[in-house]
C-alpha cells in the first residue's frame, strides 16, 4: 500500500520511559506515526509495545511527565480522558464490548443515547446513527441483533465504529491492538478491507500485531520493539521479512525434526460417532506418537473439539482411551487415563492466577509428593525447578506468581503440567495463541518431543502454518463434519485453508502468503 504522507505526524512521542519496579519496560522511546499512514508495531511479549499502548491510552503514567503530539496538538500522557479528547482511539484485543447486548447498545456505551424529552431514549434516531456509523465501515449489520450472533470481524467493526464516533477521520489516530488474535483467515481479509477503507479516509492507524503477514499486507511503515526500545522504524518495503524477524528476536528456527517417525501401531484413543454441539458423527483412531491436527474456521466445530473430547462440555458417541470407554463430561476420568488438555482460554480455563508457578505446574496431581502423610514441598520444588529448566520457562523462580510470567511462559507451564505426568494422549487447543515467536517455536519443539516419546497428540488450531509445522495428519472440519483428512504430504497451510473454506465459499478470501523465514 502506498504511503500517503500528509506532511505532518499524526502521533509523536519523545524520550518516553517507563519503569515497573526494577524492570525498565520502556527506555527512551522515540516514536512517530505519520498522518494518514498505517503504522505497524511489532515486538515479542515483554518488548514494551503493550506498555507503550497502555501509556498512550492513559492506563499508565510515564516515569517523567511526557508530552505527546497528536496531529500537532500537545497531549500530556497518562490521562485517559485527555488521550480520548486528543483523538487517540483504541480498540483493544477484547474489544470492550458486551456480547449479550446488540450493536446499538454497544455503540451507545461510553457515548450515551440520543435522548428526547425527559431522558427518553430516541430509539429510532439511535438506530439510524448506529446503522450509519457501521455502514461507513462497509457493514450492514442489523443493529438490534445481539453481538453473540455476529462474526468476530463484525464485532471488531462495532468496536471500531464506537472508537471513531464523534471525531473527524483526519484528526484521529486509531490504535488496533492485535485485532486478529482470535480471527479465522477469511475474517482477517474482511478486517483488512475495513482498515484500508479507514486508511483511504485519512485515518491514521497504529496496528499492533504478532502476525508478520499482516504487517506486510497492510502497513506502510513498521516499528520494531525489543527490550523496551524502539529498535527500528522503516517502510515495510525496505525491510525483508527475515530481517524483520531477526530485528524482533534474533533468528529463531521453527522446523520439524528431520528424523521424525510416524506414530506406532498402538492405538491410544479412538472416537466412534463422536459429536458435540456442532461436530457430528466423527470417527478417529489416534495412535501413540501420532500428531493429528484439527482445522476449520470458527463455527466448524474445531473450537469445541478438544474441550468436548476431554469432557469440558457435552458430547455424544464412544470415546475409548487405550481399552477403556470414557463417559462424557468426566475430565477426571480422562486425567486418570493419562489424557491431558491444554485449553484455548489460558486465563479462564487453565491457570490458577492466585497460585505460584509451582502450584500451577503440579495442579492435576500432587500425589507423588504426598509422603509420610505430608505434602513434601521440597520434593515438589525440586521437580518443578527441573521442569522450569527443561522447558526453559522464564520465571524468577518456582514460587513466583503465575501472573508474573509472559503469555508464552504461562503456556509452557500448562503444557509442562501434563508432560510431567507422561500423558498417553495430549489435547492441545490453540496451543500458541497470543504467544510470541520464540515461545511458539519452543512449544512446538515440546510437542515434537512428546510425540517422539510416544504421546498421541491432537492439535486444534486456527493457525494453518502451525498445523503444517506439527502434524502427521490434519482433519479439516466444515459445518461440524469431517471434510478432509490430509496426510502429511498434503497438509500444507494453503491446502488446509482451502479445505477449511471450501471452493463454494462466496466470501472474499485472501490467504496471506506465507513468506518463509
Amino acid at each position: 500500500m502506498a504511503s500517503t504522507d500528509h506532511g505532518g505526524f499524526a502521533l509523536e512521542v519523545h524520550g518516553l520511559s517507563k519503569t515497573f519496579g526494577a524492570t525498565r519496560a520502556l527506555r527512551d522511546v522515540d516514536f512517530q506515526v505519520r498522518s494518514g499512514e498505517v503504522h505497524a508495531l511489532v515486538g515479542q511479549n515483554g518488548s514494551g509495545k503493550s506498555t507503550l499502548i497502555k501509556i498512550l491510552a492513559g492506563f499508565h503514567r510515564p516515569d517523567r511527565p511526557s508530552v505527546a503530539t497528536v496531529h500537532g496538538r500537545e497531549l500530556v500522557l497518562g490521562d485517559q480522558a485527555a488521550a480520548h479528547s486528543a483523538g487517540l482511539r483504541f480498540v483493544h484485543q477484547d474489544l470492550g464490548i458486551v456480547p449479550s447486548l446488540d450493536s446499538l447498545d454497544n455503540l451507545a456505551l461510553g457515548f450515551g443515547y440520543a435522548t428526547g424529552a425527559g431522558g427518553r431514549i430516541r430509539w429510532r434516531a439511535q438506530a439510524r446513527h448506529a446503522q450509519a456509523a457501521l455502514s461507513e465501515l462497509g457493514y450492514d449489520i442489523d443493529v438490534r441483533r445481539p453481538l453473540t450472533d455476529l462474526a468476530p470481524v463484525e464485532r471488531t467493526a462495532i468496536a471500531i465504529a464506537r472508537a471513531l464516533q464523534g471525531i473527524e477521520a483526519g484528526a484521529s489516530v486509531l490504535v488496533l491492538d492485535e485485532p486478529t488474535a482470535t480471527m479465522p483467515q477469511p475474517e482477517v481479509a474482511r478486517l483488512f478491507t475495513m482498515v484500508r477503507l479507514l486508511h483511504s479516509r485519512g485515518v491514521s492507524v497504529l496496528y499492533v500485531s504478532h502476525h508478520l503477514d499482516e504487517v506486510y499486507e497492510l502497513a506502510d511503515r513498521v516499528t520494531v520493539f525489543r527490550d523496551g526500545q524502539a529498535v527500528e522504524t522503516a517502510p515495510v518495503g525496505s525491510l525483508p521479512r527475515k530481517k524483520l524477524v531477526e530485528t524482533m528476536v534474533g533468528d529463531i528456527p521453527d522446523e520439524p525434526l528431520a528424523d521424525r517417525k510416524a506414530g506406532s501401531s498402538e492405538l491410544a484413543l479412538s472416537l466412534r460417532g463422536f459429536g458435540a454441539r456442532i461436530i457430528r458423527d466423527l470417527d478417529l483412531d489416534l495412535h501413540c506418537g501420532e500428531v493429528v491436527g484439527v482445522a476449520g474456521i470458527t463455527g466448524s466445530g474445531r473450537e469445541e473439539f478438544c474441550d468436548a473430547l476431554f469432557g469440558g462440555r457435552p458430547r455424544r458417541g464412544r470415546v475409548t482411551v487405550g481399552d477403556s470407554l470414557v463417559e462424557p463430561m468426566r475430565p477426571e476420568e480422562m486425567v486418570a487415563r493419562k489424557v491431558g488438555l491444554v485449553p484455548a482460554k489460558r486465563r479462564d480455563d487453565a491457570l490458577i492466577l492466585q497460585m505460584s508457578v509451582r502450584e500451577n505446574f503440579t495442579l492435576p496431581d500432587v500425589s507423588e509428593f504426598w509422603q509420610h502423610l505430608l505434602l513434601g514441598h521440597r520434593s515438589e520444588r525440586r521437580v518443578v525447578t527441573d521442569l522450569i529448566r527443561r522447558l526453559s520457562v522464564t520465571t524468577p523462580g518456582p514460587e513466583a506468581s503465575i501472573e508474573a510470567l509472559s503469555g508464552g511462559n504461562q503456556q509452557k507451564v500448562i503444557v509442562g503440567r501434563w508432560l510431567r505426568l507422561r500423558p498417553k494422549v495430549l489435547l492441545l487447543d490453540e496451543p500458541t495463541q497470543g504467544v510470541d515467536i520464540r515461545a511458539k517455536s519452543e512449544i512446538h519443539a515440546l510437542i515434537d518431543a512428546a510425540a517422539a516419546a510416544g504421546t498421541a497428540v491432537i492439535v486444534a488450531s486456527s493457525d494453518e502454518a502451525e498445523l503444517e509445522r506439527l502434524c502427521d495428519r490434519v482433519l479439516v472440519l466444515r459445518d461440524g463434519r469431517l471434510h478432509a483428512d490430509l496426510p502429511r504430504s498434503r497438509a500444507n497451510a494453503q491446502a488446509i485453508a482451502h479445505e477449511a473454506l471450501g471452493s463454494n465459499n462466496d466470501k472474499p478470501v485472501a490467504i496471506a502468503g506465507k513468506v518463509e523465514v
Binding site: 491457570l351 527443561r390 522464564t394 508474573a404
Partner: protein, 367 residues
C-alpha cells in the same frame, strides 16, 4: 547455539521415554535463567514488599496491646482480661475456621451464624426436653451441622444456586427451625453439668475452648497446607473451570468443604452453650460478622491473597484485642464492637483488593 530440551513422556516404565530434542534457542536461554536481566530483581522487590505486610497484623496486635495496656493498666492489662480475649475469640475462631473453609472452596457461606444458633438450641433442647445423654446430644447436634452443610452443598453444586443466595435462604430456614426447637426461648434448665464443665474449666489457667480452637486450627492447617486435598481445594475455589479441566473433582471438594464448615459451625454453638451453661436463643447470629471480618483480614496476613489458617488466627486475635480494649475503654457504648468489626471487615476486603491490584500491576510489567 544449541540447547537441549529434555522431555519425558509416554508410558511409565518405558526406557525410551526420555529423549533429547535439540532446538536452537537464543544464547541467553541456554544459560538457565534466560532473557531480560532485570526480571529477577522485580521478583525480589516483590518478595520484600510482601514480607513487609504479611506480618503487619502481628505488629499491629503488639501495638494495640501496648496502647491499651498503657491506657487501661487496671482493666486491660490483667490476666482475667487476657483470658476473656482468649476465650471469647476461641468460639469466634471455631466458626471462622468453617467460614474460611467455605471461602477457600469458593462459597460465601453466610448460613454459619444461623447454623450455630440452631446448634445452640438443639444441644440444649435435646438435653432438657428429651433428656438425652450429653454425649449423644453433642453427636446429634454435630450431625445436624453436617446435614446443613450437605444441603448447602447440594443446593450450590447440584442446583447451581449462587452460594450467597443459597446460604441466605438456608439461614432463614435454620432460624425458623431453631425457633421451632426452642420455642424462641433460652434454655436454662436441664443442661448437664458434665456437659458445661467441658466449656467452663481451665487448663493451666487457660479456658479450655482455647484448646479446642488450637486443635482444630492445627488440624485444618495440616489439611489445607500439607495434604493434596488442601491444594486441590484452593485450586478449585480459585478457578473452578481450570481445576475441573485439570481433572480435579471440583464439586466433591466443595461438598467436603461445606460439610466441614457446617460441622465447625455447630461445634462452635455447642462450645458456646458449654461455656455459658445455657442455650442462649439466637446467640450464633452475632458471630457471622466477626467470622467474616477475621477470615478476610486473615487473607491479608501470613499468606497474603489466600484464606489461610495462620493468618486467620492472627486476624482473630487482633480483632479480639481491639474489641476487648474498646469495650473496656468505652463501657457505656454498646455499639463499639459492631462498629469496630464492621470497619475491620471493609478495611480488610479493601486491603485485599489493593494488594491484588498491585500484584496485577506488577505482573503487567511483563506484558
Amino acid at each position: 547455539m544449541t540447547h537441549g530440551i529434555r522431555l519425558e513422556a509416554g508410558g511409565p516404565g518405558d526406557p525410551d521415554a526420555v529423549r533429547t530434542v535439540t532446538a536452537d534457542l537464543q544464547p541467553e536461554a541456554a544459560s538457565g535463567l534466560p532473557a531480560a536481566g532485570p526480571r529477577p530483581r522485580v521478583s525480589r522487590r516483590l518478595l520484600l514488599d510482601v514480607r513487609a505486610d504479611r506480618f503487619s497484623g502481628l505488629y499491629l496486635a503488639v501495638v494495640l496491646i501496648a496502647v491499651f495496656a498503657l491506657w487501661l493498666p487496671h482493666s486491660f492489662a490483667t490476666a482475667s482480661s487476657a483470658r476473656a480475649i482468649l476465650a471469647d475469640s476461641a468460639i469466634t475462631g471455631i466458626v471462622t475456621l468453617g467460614c474460611v473453609l467455605g471461602l477457600i472452596s469458593g462459597a460465601f457461606d453466610i448460613s454459619i451464624g444461623a447454623n450455630m444458633s440452631l446448634a445452640i438450641s438443639l444441644v440444649g433442647w435435646l438435653q432438657s426436653s428429651l433428656h438425652l445423654n450429653a454425649l449423644l446430644a453433642v453427636i446429634m447436634t454435630l450431625a445436624s451441622g453436617a446435614a446443613v452443610g450437605t444441603v448447602n452443598a447440594f443446593v450450590i453444586t447440584r442446583l447451581r444456586v449462587e452460594p450467597v443466595i443459597a446460604t441466605l435462604g438456608m439461614s432463614s430456614l435454620l432460624a425458623a427451625f431453631a425457633y421451632w426447637v426452642a420455642g424462641g426461648q433460652t434454655i436454662i434448665t436441664g443442661i448437664s453439668s458434665t456437659f458445661t464443665s467441658f466449656g467452663m474449666t481451665s487448663l493451666l489457667t487457660i479456658p479450655v475452648p482455647v484448646f479446642y480452637l488450637l486443635g482444630l486450627a492445627l488440624l485444618l492447617w495440616y489439611l489445607l497446607d500439607h495434604t493434596p486435598f488442601g491444594r486441590y481445594l484452593y485450586a478449585s475455589g480459585a478457578n473452578p473451570n481450570a481445576a475441573r479441566l485439570a481433572g480435579l473433582p471440583v464439586a466433591r471438594l466443595q461438598w467436603s468443604a461445606l460439610l466441614m464448615s457446617g460441622i465447625l459451625s455447630s461445634f462452635a454453638g455447642i462450645v458456646l452453650t458449654m461455656q455459658l451453661g445455657s442455650a442462649s436463643f439466637g446467640a450464633g447470629d452475632s458471630y457471622l460478622l466477626p467470622a467474616f471480618a477475621a477470615a478476610f483480614l486473615g487473607s491479608t496476613q501470613i499468606k497474603p491473597g489466600r484464606f489461610n489458617v495462620a493468618g486467620t488466627i492472627v486476624a482473630l486475635y487482633l480483632l479480639g484485642i481491639g474489641v476487648q480494649g474498646l469495650q473496656l475503654r468505652y463501657p457505656s457504648l454498646p455499639w463499639i464492637a459492631d462498629l469496630f468489626q464492621g470497619l475491620a471487615l471493609i478495611t480488610a476486603v479493601a486491603l485485599g483488593v489493593i494488594a491484588a491490584k498491585q500484584r496485577v500491576r506488577r505482573a503487567a510489567a511483563y506484558g
